[in-house]
Amino acid sequence: MHSMSEPSDPIAQGVPAWLYDGQSALRHAVTVAIAGDMLLIDGFAPTPVDALRRIDTRGLQFAREDIPGWRLGFDVEPPGPILRQLPAAGRYGGPIDRLGLWAAAAIALCLSALAVFGMIQGLDLLVRIIPYSWEQRLGDTISGDFGTYACRAPTGQKALDDLAKRLSPSGRPMRVGVVNIPIVNAVALPGGRILIFRGLIAEAASPDEVAGVLAHEIGHVEHRHVLVSLLRRFGIGLLIGSGGSAADYGQALIEARYSRAAESEADEYSVEQLVKAGISPAPTAKLFERLGKQEAALPKIFVYGASHPPSADRKTLFDGAAKRVLQPRPSLTPAAWDAVRAMCGKPTPKGDFELRF
């Protein structure tokens, strides 16, 4: 405590300073002294030392929170007794100044690692809280009845619906549709909608190949991967995803880690369900092998879809499970397979197709 009673105290003499009052641009030459917890400024109202905030700038400057533009500066550093009572400057901002740079950086690093880990693990938990009916409504908004590209044929549709039921014992509501787009692919959309592109049916050598892909997409629906990828891309991803290179790496890490995990989960589901339904996974392995040879980069139309890149590993997985099906049954009867193949009618000439966005 500084005693005011000492008559020889140099503080009482006042030290030179300058002041902007926040009212006009005039610079006032003042002298400053400290009395107790008040700062005495000649010609101006005394200021509580508590109200002062040191500014991180050239020289020694103080501001007052309650008067915008009020600045008190010292061209010559004031004597120790005054200086010691004035507040210190902030540097990095709030908690980092209290913790110190390295401690704060270490803590932030741990929190960030936790956040990345949590996002990989936690999104699945979050998605389980969201009711499936909400997701279905979202699916309605996005894909409706699959539009003018949908191939509508009752017999073929019934065959696909029956096959989908055989491959999804949970009874979760789903809708399978075939669209007249010449791409060898299938995609799961929000709300249990599965689109099979005409190109896949045309490419498939047997209905079992279509069944394998269909089961894979059903796997995405059962695990609710579509909603997870959607949340990841647009929700949390938006917040940290636009934070420059470091955040981009984090985001890319999450995406890569997640989609790899999701694809193998869907593949495992597919294999399990094929085996349970008594359908041989071997034809699906052959399909992957053929697609792997073409290895053409498939166009990704749906940013929120979960597509499945063909690869040698997947072929091995499906091939390996083939011996578990001792007496394979066909996924579709020849008549049903013909009906499915006829769903989109004759293939349209290539130039007809256009989908721009």
């Binding site: 902007y20 009212q23 641009a25 901002g93 990345v116 996005i142 539009g147 966005f357």
Partner: protein
């Protein structure tokens, strides 16, 4: 460095050794916070750069905070990011249903809305920066919120593209003037009266040079030179790329000189002295810095650009300190969220 700003009303006293600890600790904190620290990092940078910038002998001060930049960013995300995603969903839903026409109309409206929002963002960013810039305890600001400016930005940007971009000089200068005429510092209003005529002449000159160059190459090809057709195409590509880079700097340097040269505050007239060659040197220096440091030198770019900007700023006239009173404009509560979201600069 001091000699080229001797006698100028604006002076920059910073040096990169002082700036390096700020830039490097910022980089560290940005990395370990997955980018969230960037708002506070920007604030620290500006506090340093402003405090080393003198206007007639006294320094500027940056009073903005990282928190308000962060809040601005989150608000922009909620106000514009979420509707943006929603529109994308609706558009995709329409395509799925085969309503390509509607989707196209939606895309058209979307582009318009985006231009409007960018316009508002530019206005508000300038207003925010002025309101957080202190000189002699006085700050700047604007009574406008930039909603009207958004409309101007929308239609003037569209008109700017007419006639192969020949309306661009008018569009850019007019928008600059409109923006600055709404700004004030303390009790004084800015007056912006830049003219676009000289800029149009320069653009025409650039166009003429490109046409001449292409004609020259065509003629070269016609009189069957020893050069093959591929060589001519490659030559053309290189030539046009270099020319576009050169013309961009020539055009932009003049734009800045005209725009800032037309600006005044009460009895102070501002001037910008950077020539095209100075800007070319700045950009080449940037590239050399980035290449030489394997990209890490990007933390020094803001320093380089600010110091370049201030070293080429000048002002003349007189100022009555007693008459320059505190700004009565309403100070915006959050920062440059929109601008941050769209990644466009304030100038």
């Amino acid at each position: 460095m001091a000699h080229d700003q001797a006698g100028s009303a604006f002076r920059f006293h910073g040096n990169w050794r002082e700036f390096a600890p700020i830039a490097l600790t910022n980089l560290l904190l940005i990395i370990v916070t997955l980018g969230i620290y960037r708002f506070w990092a920007k604030t620290r940078e500006r506090r340093y750069l402003w405090s080393r910038t003198d206007f007639i002998g006294d320094p500027l001060e940056w009073t903005g905070t990282g928190q308000e930049l962060f809040i601005g960013f989150v608000m922009a995300l909620l106000l514009f990011g979420v509707p943006l995603v929603a529109i994308q969903f609706v558009a995709q839903g329409m395509i799925m249903r085969g309503h390509l026409g509607f989707a196209k109309i939606l895309g058209f409206l979307f582009t318009g809305a985006l231009l409007y929002v960018i316009g508002v963002a530019r206005f508000r960013a300038l207003r925010y920066r002025l309101s957080r810039t202190l000189w002699h305890g006085i700050r700047g600001g604007s009574d406008e919120k930039g909603l009207g400016y958004g409309w101007s930005y929308l239609w003037k940007s569209v008109v700017g593209g007419f006639f192969f971009g020949l309306m661009l000089p008018w569009s850019m200068i007019d928008l600059w003037n409109q923006r600055w005429n709404d700004m004030s510092f303390g009790s004084h209003s800015f007056a912006a009266g830049a003219e676009h005529g000289p800029l149009l002449k320069r653009l025409l000159l650039c166009y003429g040079a490109i046409i001449l160059f292409v004609l020259l190459l065509v003629a070269l090809a016609a009189v069957s030179t020893p050069l093959g057709a591929t060589a001519i195409v490659v030559l053309m590509m290189i030539g046009i790329t270099l020319m576009l880079f050169g013309f961009f700097t020539i055009y932009y340097a003049l734009f800045l000189r005209l725009a800032i040269g037309g600006l005044s505050l009460n009895r102070i007239d501002f001037r910008f002295t950077a020539r095209s060659f100075d800007i070319v040197r700045l950009i080449i220096g940037d590239l050399a810095l980035l290449v030489g440091t394997l990209g890490l030198g990007f933390v020094f770019l803001s320093y380089r650009h600010w110091s370049f900007f201030i070293r080429h700023m000048d002002a003349s006239g007189e100022i009555d300190l007693a008459a320059l009173a505190q700004s009565l404009t309403e100070a915006p509560r959050q920062g440059e969220g929109l601008l941050d979201a769209f990644d466009v600069g304030a100038f």
